[in-house]
Symmetry: C2
């Protein structure tokens, strides 16, 4: 390795490490805001987050960073080039956003999240609307700074998913929509005929906590470095190398909702804990994209968590925590957790209907960003689109356009990555199961081989290759919807 380049790369790594100290400090503060912070802490907390975000942004866009990167590039060996190309992409993207805009964004979303939580609770969309308008304006400003070829949406989705565009997503969704509606309708009809149900609650919350933790640990989640807390909207956040915080919410009448939530977030957490420690804050230690991130959560939640082998092992354990499960058969249990029905709430939707929720949100946020849809008209547009896709109308905005935190966090262009995650999950899982050790472990509900496969093929890659490159290299095929549709067909229609 060339000496000059090594020195420059070392300096670049040191700069990135310092920036990671700041951005991960913001992550701690954001985690506290969601989990434990008392209500009156908000205004000051928003200012703290703005300050830290602005510092991290300044650091990643500094002259020193740019010069060091250029120096490293000038003397790069072929092996160093992909890493430096990833650094360059991030730098160019970051330098296009003024620090003032980044700070304004952080502050506006901190306040908007607070307003959203109250609006959702009180079914009061007008109380949230002014915040959404501000965030849309900021998103449009960001898009103009970042630049785009087709439309505003492209610049935003690219933040979450490299190489995605509104037109490509619309094309994919237009193709998927009829097939998904057909699968959903068949699945819902099949479930309605069977009427499978889990025994009634209460499932005491303390027992749910204990069972969730036991399951998460069995997947490989490292509690020496991570933990699970309670929030309104479940999430996973990383506060330092391997310091991964999951959250969930509890319903005394439904242990499965919290359990699958935890398996989902643990999937994110396993990915974060599997990224190379020493590369924390660098593209080589960062998640490849949200579509890859979501593939990990969906894989563990759905392909593992709703499978027969998983419950063959875990149903008797669950029955120890929840005695009412002692008498249900494995078949009946599986029928209940593989049930399909139309839900107003995305996070409560089953696999068979989930992607329809994403198609709805993608259409609305694309129109909000283009200016075609006014914020005031969002509730009506939501309900209209819901009627079209699901054949019913939400009873109120809390069950409609106020249900998700994403827009309140400024996360416009984020939703399609969920469906990309579903597609990637199915494709990666099918490929992993070609490995005899993985398949054998899976049959016994032992997941070390599956985790090892994912660590090698996905986690260890960081964000140096593109999402599509990762999937293609891991599976030997270009990313497609094929495995996902086949999986839904097999499990839900049969």
């Amino acid at each position: 390795m060339d000496a000059v380049s090594t020195a420059a790369i070392d300096r670049l790594r040191a700069l990135a490490r310092e920036r990671a100290l700041v951005s991960s400090s913001a992550a701690v503060i954001g985690w506290d805001q969601e989990t434990y912070m008392p209500d009156d802490g908000y205004p000051w907390r928003a200012d703290q987050l703005a300050w830290l975000s602005e510092r991290a942004h300044e650091m990643g866009t500094s002259q020193e960073w740019g010069d060091t990167l250029a120096e490293a590039e000038a003397a790069a060996t072929p092996e160093q080039k992909p890493f430096l190309a990833a650094m360059r992409r991030d730098y160019d993207k970051a330098t296009k956003l003024p620090g003032e805009l980044v700070a304004r964004d952080a502050q506006a979303s901190a306040l908007a999240k607070q307003a959203w939580a109250a609006a959702r609770k009180n079914n009061d969309f007008p109380a949230f609307a002014p915040h959404l308008k501000i965030l849309l304006g900021i998103a449009q400003e960001k898009a103009e700074c970042l630049g785009y070829q087709g439309e505003v949406y492209d610049a935003l989705v690219d933040i979450y998913e490299r190489d995605a565009t509104a037109a490509k997503i619309a094309g994919l969704f237009d193709t998927l929509k009829p097939q998904l509606r057909e699968i959903a309708a068949a699945a819902v009809a099949k479930s309605a005929a069977r009427q499978a149900k889990l025994p009634p609650g209460p499932y005491p919350i303390e027992a749910q906590k204990a069972f969730n933790a036991e399951v998460a640990a069995s997947l490989g989640f490292d509690f020496q470095a991570g933990r699970i807390d309670t929030t309104t909207h479940p999430f996973c956040t990383t506060l330092g190398p391997r310091d991964v915080r999951l959250t969930t919410r509890y319903d005394e009448d439904d242990f499965a909702s919290s359990l699958f939530g935890v398996m989902h977030e643990a999937g994110h957490g396993l990915y974060e804990q599997g990224l190379p420690d020493a590369e924390f804050g660098l593209p080589s230690g960062d998640a490849a994209s949200l579509g890859i991130h979501e593939s990990q959560s969906r894989l563990w939640e759905n392909h593992v968590g709703r499978s027969r082998p998983f419950w063959k092992k875990w149903l008797p354990v669950a029955a120890k925590h929840f005695p009412q499960l002692a008498d249900i058969s494995l078949d009946d249990f599986l029928a209940a957790i593989q049930q399909a029905s139309y839900s107003f709430i995305r996070v409560e939707a089953d696999e068979a209907t989930y992607d329809l929720h994403i198609i709805l949100r993608f259409g609305l946020e694309r129109r909000l960003l283009s200016g075609e849809l006014a914020v005031e008209d969002l509730p009506a547009a939501w309900n209209e689109s819901f009627q079209d896709l699901f054949g019913s109308t939400p009873p109120d905005d809390t069950h409609g356009c106020l249900q998700d935190i994403h827009w309140a966090m400024g996360g416009l262009g984020y939703f399609p990555t969920y469906t990309m995650g579903n597609l990637n999950a199915a494709q990666l899982f099918a490929a992993a199961m070609q490995d005899p050790a993985v398949a054998e472990g899976f049959a016994k509900a032992e997941y070390a081989p599956l985790l090892a496969w994912l660590r090698e093929k996905v986690h260890a890659k960081g964000a140096v290759p593109t999402p599509a490159e990762i999937v293609a290299a891991a599976t030997g095929k270009e990313p497609s919807a094929e495995s996902h549709l086949a999986h839904l067909q097999t499990r839900y229609v049969g």
Copy 2:
């Protein structure tokens, strides 16, 4: 008010506000470290804290800060002078400490706290000793930077208590020691004769949490802005204006230990929540000293929490949470919570013996800092001094020199402020009770008048006057041990 000066003061306030954003971010991160952070988070967390501490230090010692302060001073009106004098004192003190030393201190104490927790658990002083040596070295370096007239100790105690010196404290403690030993001996003998005991546990932890919160709220602690969590070593920390976090620990056999711990920390919290919001991060919004801080915690814990009127109201409430308390008489209950006995553990010590623990620690840390006592000899020296003061020897270092977190946090010179707090608490409480509304409220266990008195006479003052000035102005007398000794005599010897 002079226009030039106002503009300069405004700029100074803006600089201080920005520094407060950074230092309060460090406080959030430190709180998480103590409450919820998984074990493996430590190394990265120490680096985060070091970065934030170094930034806050840089900001408070910048040329801009110094120039703006000088500009403000040059045009100050007489009313502005005390505020600017306090700013000047802080600035001069801060500029004497190099940023590198501040960062090294923060990082060393983060690692030392981790090592201390393990050493305390495993009764393994040698595992903690290297950390203590590093921290002593840093403390000595700090003292040399800050400067002192008499000895190293003076520079350190002055960080916590303005105008205190080792010689003055030694003089006070030499006078107090025989009187305190006499009171302690009489109190212990009286308690031993009476053998008052609370009914045995279990006192379920969930019930303790509920009762503690009810009591803290009744004192005026604002849970809209604050909360209570669980840690090994109880503390109170402020994460933003009025965002005050208390912690406690629970013992199923002893609800009183946790309750009085919460009343103590709530006393600190009431002070922090009573400091002027808009002055956050400025001397006018900062606590006057640790000796004043501790006066607030001791006042609520001891003068309120162990009083007859308090329990006349709260014993029946406690009995609802803990049915075993239903049959104990108020007299027997009071005898049990006003009991004196010699304890190895300072935080479990009663009022009558507490100050002897401080006298012990002051003597040892003074000798450690002067170099007269080697770290290796600390356990033996501790035990010898304990034998002298209490007439017994701790069974192990976990019950001896490893029991407190303070030295592991680099808090050398901190302990005497506890006894100063006791003296101030007694003097302030006696003065407050001269106000008829306070006395009337106290008799009914209604504390709004007492809190209002403290808010006006102590909390609202911030750190602009000296601790002695605050006590003298509030009580009409110079600070002395008189009220404290009288209180102990009345309550414990009679």
